[in-house]
Symmetry: C2
């Protein structure tokens, strides 16, 4: 489905009168980046001139203001270009907050009180699945272990899985070689792309299983290639290789379709999220029993603030999060959300791992640190979206006629 | 939810080397119109230079090309700004087609063969609800009466309902006066906005019922104001006034929420569609039994082509369509879809009506014609989106820095 991505980003820098900065971005795969920029420019007048203290003391209200603007919400509401624009701004604001407090965003979140976290959430359309009282209960249940888990996280990091070996264009030899490298790098969990040709999928999955042995987790990712019935049929001959999950088997909008697929293909897990466009959709995926794995994304929904709601929904339904990453800066940002979940919400890393792709980290001031197949917890302030000035300068799009 | 709309549009003109033109638009409510323009500009390179004959002989393939671009679909897929941009282009292309053939789009559609119509539909994610064979069967079943219904349509027009009396800002006196005018203009079906204040809703609905009598259809529209449980509770004291439908009781993404509300509030019907963002969502609303009324919109989904799929889905599930209109040019465009449904798909106008708002028609070259509460069938070529040059000139946005 994505044969020729040209990884791009609409980059947001918030500047305060006290010369503080916050950085965020909307990730795109090339064409359309200008539309993403235009949407951010449409939101900008809503925030220019606000008092920093007012914004940072009510980030829930700030997010509701951005996503609830009565004219701009017509373009969504809460989906697509305008919602990703809100995400870039919300994440830049959390980055600013982290820089002012001198803390990485995961720690900022993990040190907030249950009530402060509940106040971030827009419950308007969630209460049939999660009430403020339930959210608070989930957070209070996790209070006792916060300190120990924070220490554990700083010492050992958070589990990762790697998509590096599994791209469709790779030869069998390269697949085998990269799979072996993944193991020697400490990864017990990899992911292969599937869905273009069934025979190829069978051959590649067999090769990966033979290379990695029976205990490795081999996830597969169809990137929305199939209809519902087609997904179920395609997966039958792949089942004997025990894929760990099937990711995006069909349209990311199809809650009921995912539920049908999940019922049919168990024990293969069903995973999705990089294109699930807001918390109301995640709510339904969980209500319908359509997901085994919540692949939240740092930039698809409205940033950190909405992701707090999604993490709480996942906890309520007992479904683990395995964030989507890769792209431009997604690894750098999304690790904060998984680490917050571990320290202050689910309290667990069981069945959880952040996607890792070894790609484009060199452009970031605080690139992710991976060791033995785990993300080391970032200690620098902010959310990690700041690019190096020389990268911004080298890759800045100058074809733009604005 | 929409307190201060500033009705706007991103206007698309397609020009061919033979000096033919096609007109389409994306309706917005003000801020964000620039982002809509940028998304249309991002799609434009995909169509500039195509051969007109190739496009018009495969409008299904053309639509799949526009909505399936591997980079641009990251911004959706099939939702929000990028999807409405595709709609504007797709509708402009149908307008061009109608102009070349010298026919209104409703007639163009109603004279296509069942197989030609089936070929328009992208079945990738639909087949668990509607197969090509089923779609063809629905269309063949309606073949016999096409000529008679076309004649009936030309003679009598298509039922309308009016939203003119029911805006939230109006005084009680104005509500009563406009309701009486609606009746004397031939409308037996009006709509009131609700959801801001319960006591006000009770008072206004009682007034409207007293004014119009027990037989009039009085629909109510909450514009997404409520959560699921809140919708059910709010509607209880309104039920005694027998509202015909409740429109957009909650988030337009919430398929399962609408199903819950529908079960709880029957016999009040549940209606939605102006923000249901694509055919996969409509599929689920119908699969889940979440809708009594399909309010398709000319510009929210990818134009005429995707609306053909939605009309076929509605026919499969036996749910009537009552298109959303108003805005800028929505009445002019959407009437073609309802009329096509009557002549060539459902074969019925029972329980069906197109929304009508008496607003901004003076800017269109072929404004809608309403007589005795019915839309007269347009006979001019195209889809009706062409604006008068003097209106384009007078209202063109010049604050734009492009």
């Amino acid at each position: 489905m994505n044969p020729e991505p040209d990884y791009s980003a609409a980059y947001v820098v918030i500047r305060t009168s006290a010369d503080r900065q916050g950085f965020g971005l909307a990730f795109t795969v090339g064409r359309g980046n200008d539309a993403q920029v235009a949407a951010i420019e449409a939101l900008a007048p809503l925030i220019v001139g606000l008092r920093v203290a007012d914004v940072l003391s009510d980030l829930g209200g700030f997010s509701r203001m951005l996503t609830g603007d009565s004219q701009l919400r017509w373009l969504g509401p809460n989906k697509g270009v305008i919602h990703m624009a809100a995400a870039a701004i919300v994440n830049a604001t959390w980055d600013l907050f982290g820089r002012i407090e001198g803390k990485p965003v995961w720690r900022l979140l993990a040190e907030m009180s249950p009530q402060q976290l509940v106040d971030l959430v827009d419950f308007r359309y969630l209460e049939d699945a999660l009430t403020p009282a339930e959210a608070r209960q989930i957070l209070e249940r996790a209070l006792p272990g916060r300190t120990a888990r924070q220490a554990d996280l700083l010492a050992r990091g958070y589990p990762a899985y790697t998509t590096t070996p599994g791209w469709l264009g790779y030869t069998d030899d390269k697949l085998v070689r990269l799979s072996k490298e993944a193991v020697s790098d400490g990864f017990g969990h990899i992911k292969l792309k599937v869905g273009a040709d069934l025979d190829t999928d069978i051959r590649r999955l067999r090769l990966a299983r033979e290379t990695l042995g029976p205990d490795a987790r081999i996830a597969i990712d169809a990137n929305q290639a199939w209809g519902v019935q087609q997904a179920i049929e395609w997966l039958q001959p792949l089942a004997r290789f025990e894929p760990y999950w099937i990711e995006e088997p069909t349209s990311p909008d199809d809650v009921l379709g995912h539920a049908t697929i999940r019922n049919a293909v168990a024990p293969i897990k069903v995973a999705a999220g990089e294109h699930i466009h807001n918390q109301v959709m995640f709510k339904q995926f969980l209500q319908a029993g359509a997901l085994d794995v919540v692949q939240l994304d740092a930039c698809r929904v409205a940033g950190v603030t909405e992701n707090v709601a999604i993490i709480l929904l996942a906890a309520k339904y007992g479904v683990p999060i395995c964030p989507h990453a890769g792209g431009v800066g997604l690894c750098e940002m999304v690790q904060h959300l998984a680490m917050f979940d571990y320290v202050a919400v689910s309290g667990s890393t069981d069945g959880r791992a952040i996607e890792y792709i070894d790609h484009l980290h060199e452009h970031f001031v605080q690139p992710v640190m991976i060791r033995d197949g785990r993300y080391l917890a970032p200690t620098g302030p902010g959310i990690g979206a700041q690019m190096k000035p020389e990268s911004v300068d080298a890759y800045r799009w100058r074809g733009d006629h604005r």
